[in-house]
Amino acid sequence: MTEVLSRTGVIRPDPKDPSALRIDEVLVRKMLVLFIRDETWKTRLKRAVVGVSGGVDSAVSVALASEALGPENVLGLFTPYRHSSQESRLHARAVSKQFGFTLEEVPITAQVDAYFRAAPVDESDPRIRIRMGNKMARERKSIEYDRSWPDGIVIGTSNKTELLLGYGTQFGDMACGINPVGDLYKTQLRELALHLGVPEEIVRKAPTAELWEGQTDEGELGFSYAEADLVLYHMVDRRLRPSELIAAGFDASLVNRIREMVRKNHYKRVMPLIAKVSLRTVGHDFLYPRDWEAD
């Protein structure tokens, strides 16, 4: 009984105590494997397609998919742009070797560069970099969707931290049929990755979307995932207000900045708005479950 309370009832927000984020990896693994299996088979699909970047998030997604559907039913796609590192390629291959799924390499440099060549851009301009990054993310996703046809599902790799911060490209890396890792913060995903047997080198390296050379997520965000995860956990999971977090000793500018990112990017997490004019409208009052099964 005391244990139950200590785990669920009396977690206090403390910027120096990351233990609130710890998860039961065995339980989470079981839940996520069953989720992938159930939600894939229910749609009469049997294969999974996962973009494998060489990073930890996609390593976890593809490992879970391989366990759920059998590695023979999983296709990993490594889709390098010219900025992508040899290290990423080696890591993607290591993940493929570890979990037994087929990995294919489909470069995206030619099509992305062809597109931007039509109206030449200055790659050193940060706004252009963002456009190019978005284009790469959507290019990759269009390949994953193409390769999923006709009997495969695209498995998402966006973690809870990215989803909440909106740190991703809508209809790009955020797009998927199902997402097994979207309710796990980055630090929790790392914990799960080690449990699943993802090589430690991949788990420990600095996260990067490799949208330009030398980019790292934490460098771009201006805070670490460890910091963000703890703030988000107390703010979202435990429903504490920013003022309560600040009173508990969290850095005010960090808390406010994170809160604003969550708000500003919420549109990325929901379906596009449909203007309601008729008596019954998709998304408003035509509300059927997605898992609407055939009888």
Binding site: R22, L34, F286, P289, E293
Partner: protein, 286 residues
């Protein structure tokens, strides 16, 4: 004389009543083979849980021929199963029927419709308005559908009315995966089942489903808890399972003799207290 009962920890298909009827038939057959006199299915076992607008599509009257196969199958084993009931005045209810010897003998309509967090029952269904006991193979019995059980007054009212058994068909989503223990929901439910069983001195038959609907996992973990607080049988988490266990009416009697909480219960005080607060004061008769 103990009575063997079975719990069908199954995974209904969402909105597919015909398929679910076939699924029920196979679990009923297995329960019969296991020598059970009753098989209990989870909440909305014939329709699936997160129905949303499908609720109206799958609804039927409690005596609808659509439910005929369940009634028919109950000739040699009692069956409790969940469906969407359309009342005579066309309200939709989350209902749990109890069929015995070919007939529907009791229907409980879920009273407490959770409409918060991941739940939206109150948007699609109307609430039931009573807790009535009936006679099952285990003796006097009450049904608490999922959220009903979370309200302390539900099992209390059944116990006060003399129930020896509370059947608790559920569609409980699993959540809470913090390190160092079981699933958060599982811990809460087990605490609840045991508390009610032991302090109301009755059997709690907790019947949860498994499978996924729209990304939400139902965690299973069905269990039969005896009036002395012991777990008679418990199903695994997340996997389909036919759980079989014995209910012993003599144990209810022994526990009530040893621990006569119900005998000493003062319903009159409860009634006066509640009535007074609601502005309906009752006269003292003593």
């Amino acid at each position: 004389m103990s009575v063997r009962i079975a719990v069908a920890q199954c995974s209904p298909a969402l909105g597919a009543v015909r398929r679910n009827l076939e699924m029920h038939a196979s679990w009923i057959a297995r329960a019969r083979e296991a020598g059970a006199r009753l098989v209990v299915f989870p909440e909305l076992s014939l329709t699936g849980y997160y129905l949303k607008d499908l609720a109206a599509d799958v609804a039927c009257a409690a005596d609808d021929p659509q439910l005929g196969p369940i009634a028919e199958a109950s000739r040699d084993i009692d069956i409790s199963a969940g469906f969407v009931e359309r009342s005579a005045d066309a309200k939709l209810h989350i209902a749990q029927g109890y069929w015995s010897k070919g007939k529907l003998v009791h229907v409980h309509r879920k009273v407490y419709l959770p409409t918060y967090g991941i739940f939206d029952d109150g948007r699609y269904f109307g609430p039931g308005d009573r807790f009535e006991t009936f006679k099952s193979v285990g003796g006097s019995t009450g049904v608490a559908i999922c959220e009903d059980l979370w309200h302390v007054s539900t099992p209390y009212l059944y116990a006060a009315a003399g129930a020896a058994v509370v059947l608790a068909p559920s569609a409980s989503p699993g959540r809470g995966v913090a390190e160092g223990g079981d699933l958060g929901t599982a811990e809460s439910c087990r605490l609840m089942d045991r508390f009610y069983a032991q302090y109301l001195t009755l059997y709690v038959v907790y019947v949860n489903r498994v499978g996924h609907e729209d990304g939400i996992a139902f965690w299973g973990g069905s269990e039969i808890v005896a009036p002395d607080g012991t777990v008679v049988a418990r199903a695994p988490e997340f996997d389909e399972h036919l759980l079989v266990g014995e209910i012993d009416p003599d144990l209810v009697a022994r526990e009530r003799a040893r621990n006569p909480l119900l005998r000493d219960e003062r319903e009159d005080i409860v009634l006066r207290n509640v009535a007074g607060r609601l502005g309906l004061p009752l006269e003292r008769r003593d």
